[in-house]
Symmetry: C2
Subunit: 338 residues, 2 copies
DNA sequence: TCTGGCACTCGCGCGCCGTGAGTGCCAGGA
DNA sequence: TCCTGGCACTCACGGCGCGCGAGTGCCAGA
């Protein structure tokens, strides 16, 4: 186990390195933090920390930089979450309250997160799976063609075309619409399949084919939407990454374009609070030199989607975690109100 | 006026520079293109071209590179549009045909354009202004709260909440829905205002307030949607920009995040065919070292939105223009079918 | 266990210089 | 008048050598 002082040294190294972006040496450390010991002592501690794999030297006779393992220890044990100041919180709230619809909420959230953290922001659209149905609408476009519109409690709207096996009268349509809504309105998506399976039986034989088609389209929409959408922003912040650019930034941009990758990334974080994945902890190779800070958010008490930021492993973890947590909280509020 | 040969020299310079990314000298030119004259002659021509401002030297005793003006002449007079090959066209068509809904069409188009041109692709969602209304739906969410859903012929769906000044009965709602649709279904957005202005008069005095509110929300939706959405992709291609990275790429990324900027960029191109804006021709400062190749596309014969790519001024104009034009054509077909 | 001292390492920045691609100009020839 | 070959000149680029100094490891003494 590392002594108290060595942990202090590690914390100081992380803080300095995050601030200066340059390897930190023993002398500079003792000058900037009053550790109460001499550089020589710190050197011994650093040697020990290096043996344990928490820090490393880019090359002999240079200062030390934290390793992924070092950041991990820092995040887990040495640093808290830095809360937002009151003015910052007010600014967040004001900015988000101006949103007019769901798209706008997500767009504003992305911008906000990117600005606050000066990193790349990723916001997942509120997921359908845990949402409830607000309304299902059926429109007749042609004798044998319907449009199915699904409206969720988060304000999201999905539409699908339905080609009917047989013409479907207006009366039947109104009937189906009414029955469908009385069964599923206000219910959770997960419960919908069980609630509608016997619905075709209530109709005349000639209409059953169409009813079944409509229902399966509805269920399909619920499932398909698990391939959820997300919005990213603040990619310009990647330019602050480092000096050895092209090599670092390219794989990150590529990863960010793969929505699948990002969704997986966000999905993996199971922690109820803020989750941090550092460097090689990220499965995707292109993100091996980045850290992902994410958290769930939702309209009720329950999380329905995730949001977070992607930045260099050398990032201000306490500040970033604080910003991510605060934004998630306020987005949740906004969603609950609308 | 420039002689025939000098134009040939300019064309050769552009082609070589686009290929090699390095300033091109007189000797290399005569070797790679059989111009039928000696390097010395070419040198004289180059001096003349430089006087006219078509090419420039990065520094004394280096080769020449085209200026924005040089590229402009190249695009206008010296190069055609390189058509896609048959296999390429088939690939485009196949890829786009797999799309399941409007979002998917746009997403696939972006990916496709980015891959074909190896540049940043920008695709505007089909605009509402020139579209027609397919259906307007009204749903009652609470006694004095309605949801307005607008469905367009391009398959786009917009929804808005409406808070009514007074409770609005189901019968009135059905009446309004029917009247509204009979008037506006199939009509162009631009015509809608004139078609509905006298609608409140058909209702009882107590309902008129609500009807007016609904109508103004509808009109607002049509107008507001002029702040159209777009999707971008292929930003990883920016890493191929040049060697002097951060300075070049940063403003571009920033500009790409400003949807307003991009929409203006696309909107400015009035040409019915492919439009090219080179370097400083772009109003936005961050895009001064990029060229934008854009074109309108649409479901009918008429253009309803734009798409294009953003890349370094040093790009393969004929190829890029060909790809952009081809993709626009096929997207139009897909939209017309659905 | 901590400290001051000391010898050692080695990346970085700087200046120097040779190389070679490229240029402008000029005089002679078609 | 236009093209050509020749010639002197320019100057960015890359390699080399070197001194500086931050930083290290180790050791003897408190």
């Amino acid at each position: 186990m590392l002594s108290e002082r060595r942990l202090k040294v590690l914390r100081a190294i992380v803080q300095d390195y995050v601030g200066t972006e340059e390897p930190v040496g023993s002398k500079a450390l003792t000058e900037r933090h009053n550790l109460g010991v001499s550089p020589a002592t710190v050197r011994n501690d650093m040697a020990a920390l290096e043996d344990e794999g928490f820090i490393a030297q880019p090359h002999t006779s240079a200062g030390r930089i934290p390793t992924d393992k070092g950041y991990r220890l820092f995040v887990d044990k040495l640093a808290g979450v830095k809360p937002m100041t009151a003015p910052e919180r007010r600014a967040i709230q004001n900015f988000l309250e101006g949103a007019v619809d769901l798209d706008d909420v997500v767009a504003r959230t992305v911008r906000l997160l990117a600005q606050l953290t000066r990193q790349v922001a990723v916001v997942q659209y509120p997921s359908l799976t845990r949402s409830t149905v607000r309304h299902v609408e059926l429109l007749s476009l042609a004798p044998a063609r319907l449009m199915l519109v699904l409206i969720t409690d988060t304000g999201r709207v999905e539409q699908r075309m339905v080609d009917c096996p047989a013409p479907f009268g207006e009366a039947s349509l109104a009937d189906l619409r009414a029955r469908l809504n009385s069964r599923v309105a206000g219910r959770r998506f997960a419960d919908v399949p069980g609630l509608v399976e016997d619905l075709p039986e209530a109709f005349e034989a000639e209409d059953r084919g169409t009813v079944s088609t409509v229902l399966s389209t509805l269920l399909e929409t619920l499932v398909e939407e698990n391939e959820e959408r997300l919005m990213i922003g603040g990619t310009a912040n990647l330019t602050r990454f480092g000096h050895d650019f092209p090599l670092t930034i390219r794989p990150v941009l590529e990863a960010l374009e793969e929505q699948v990758v990002l969704l997986k990334l966000l999905g993996e974080a199971k922690d109820p609070g803020v989750t941090v994945r550092i460097g090689h902890e990220n499965a995707h190779e292109g993100l091996n030199s980045t850290s992902v800070v994410s958290v769930g958010y939702g309209s009720g008490g329950e999380a329905v989607a995730k949001l977070g930021v992607v930045g260099p492993t050398r990032m201000d973890y306490p500040g970033t975690m604080g910003a991510v947590r605060a934004v998630a909280r306020y987005v949740g509020q906004i969603l609950a109100e609308s």
